[in-house]
């Protein structure tokens, strides 16, 4: 194995974990996803083209594995059930308000369709350009643009409906 290749992987791990956390929802599932992506990347490192962006290549691997999982396990249904259960469950009484607000945002992201969630995480969270995100997702730039717009509007509506927008903004500012 090329040492340089492994080192590149280590550097990008925190961002991969953040991306995977947004896709998979839970920390354990996200780390499983990243681990699987590392293993696939090492097995296919000969396919990586020098001079292209390594992080984009890794994002694409994470996304591909996740989509495979979604298709094979119907993850959308499972994660939706969990989200509703969480909303109705007893939250610890003394939970920090800011954390509650950010949890609410994460749940709202979790309810987005997979393609919109991917666009949102790549562009809004990780700061990729539309063109870079389109390359990762394997779709035209216009598709990313419309997915992102739908995601952002849906997210805003969800947060407003839950009263989370005002509270979240206030709590986030307090952090």
């Amino acid at each position: 194995m090329s040492i340089r290749f492994g080192d590149q992987l280590i550097v990008v791990l925190p961002r991969l974990r953040r991306f995977a956390r947004g896709l998979a929802g839970s920390a354990v599932d996200a780390d499983d996803l990243v681990q699987a992506a590392c293993e696939r990347a090492l097995a296919r490192q000969h396919q990586f083209q020098e001079g292209t962006r390594f992080d984009s290549w890794m994002f694409r691997i994470v996304q591909t594995i996740w989509i495979d999982q979604v298709r094979s396990r119907d993850v959308r249904k499972v994660s939706g059930d969990i989200a509703e259960e969480r909303l109705g469950s007893d939250e610890p009484v003394r939970r920090v308000e800011a954390r509650l607000a950010l949890d609410e945002v994460r749940r709202a992201v979790d309810r987005l369709p997979p393609d919109q969630r991917t666009a949102l995480l790549l562009v809004t969270v990780d700061g990729l350009t539309y063109k870079e995100a389109a390359e990762v997702a394997g779709v035209p730039v216009g598709t990313i643009m419309s997915r992102l717009a739908r995601a952002r509007i849906a997210l805003q509506l969800q947060l407003e409906a839950g009263g989370g927008m005002g509270r979240s903004t206030k709590d986030a500012e307090a952090q």
């Binding site: 550097v11 780390d31 562009v123 643009m145 419309s146 717009a149 947060l159 903004t169």
Partner: protein, 290 residues
């Protein structure tokens, strides 16, 4: 039409529009207060989304992922715990003696507060209540840790405020090994240089400092990435017992310190804690320090 407006407004916010389109949106915003309000709400929600996932970047990366990235295998820890450092080529599981202790810094901070300025007196054998006599070595060690970590943070601040090469005793010009050899001549044992280039950190040179009352090397790394550097790594000798990597803070400076087999290490900087954990793991891996 509404959908198209949303698309363009969001692309405007993301800086993805051409100049002409941008001007159109500017004019629209000037004329329509509702559009301005919508833009502000979209910007706020985008900021919240970033915040919601930002904490992942501050978490230590689990060892199983580091191992996976290096093409090695680590057996899973029950309950998904973060694993301790592993030896560079070791794949055996370790037991709980070397676990990273997230709670320890909090306990240490409280402990430090309780000790306060009295730590020196405790270390000198004064003001020690009868029931505390058996704990004196632990108190002395804690007090000693406080002092050398204060110094380590101070060394970092001096260096950061001095700028490029300002206080570096042995600059790394040409072959960095020469700088290491020169600094090692003043130390009880040879110092090895961790390669932190994968983190974007370049070795700039070394300084001779004092850690735990002994001469030590302060290795200086810089980077253009303000989120990570500059960073210093102090490597010294120690007669204290081994301790797991532990986080401490001194005002705006973060320190990760640990002791292993007669060496004391401190990674010092203003980088996010998540980065420091990752870099410290890499250092320990390279130096086989854990």
């Amino acid at each position: 039409m509404q959908k198209r407006s949303d698309d363009r407004l969001i692309a405007y916010l993301d800086g993805e529009l051409e100049v002409a389109e941008r001007r159109e949106i500017d004019a629209w915003l000037d004329a329509d207060p509702a559009a301005r309000e919508k833009l502000a709400a979209l910007a706020a929600s985008a900021n919240l989304v970033r915040l919601a996932f930002d904490e992942v970047m501050h978490e230590p990366v689990p060892d199983r992922l580091i191992a996976a990235a290096r093409g090695e295998m680590v057996l899973p820890e029950p309950g998904g715990q973060v694993l301790p450092f592993k030896r560079r080529r070791g794949i055996e599981r370790t037991t709980g003696t070397h676990h990273w202790r997230i709670g320890l810094p909090v306990a240490a901070a409280l402990f430090g507060l309780l000790l306060g300025g009295g730590a020196v007196y405790l270390g000198a054998g004064k003001l020690v209540p009868g029931g505390m006599a058996g704990k004196q070595p632990a108190l002395e060690a804690a007090a000693a840790d406080n002092v050398w970590l204060d110094n380590a943070a101070g060394y970092f601040r001096l260096l950061a405020s001095a700028g490029d090469n300002g206080l570096i005793d042995v600059p790394a010009t040409g072959d960095p090994r020469e700088a290491l050899q020169k600094i090692s001549q003043s130390l009880p044992q040879e110092v090895r240089l961790p390669d932190l280039k994968p983190w974007g950190l370049n070795f700039r040179g070394a300084r001779l400092v004092v850690a735990e009352g002994r001469p030590a090397a302060q290795l200086v790394y810089t980077t253009d990435n303000k989120a990570i550097g500059p960073l210093t790594l102090i490597i010294g000798s120690s007669k204290q017992p081994d301790i797991s990597p532990t986080l401490a803070t001194r005002q705006d400076v973060n320190l990760l310190y640990w002791r292993h087999q007669g060496h004391a290490y401190a990674l010092v900087g203003q980088a996010d804690v998540g980065y420091l954990w990752g870099i410290a793991k890499d250092v320990a891996w390279q130096l086989d320090a854990i």
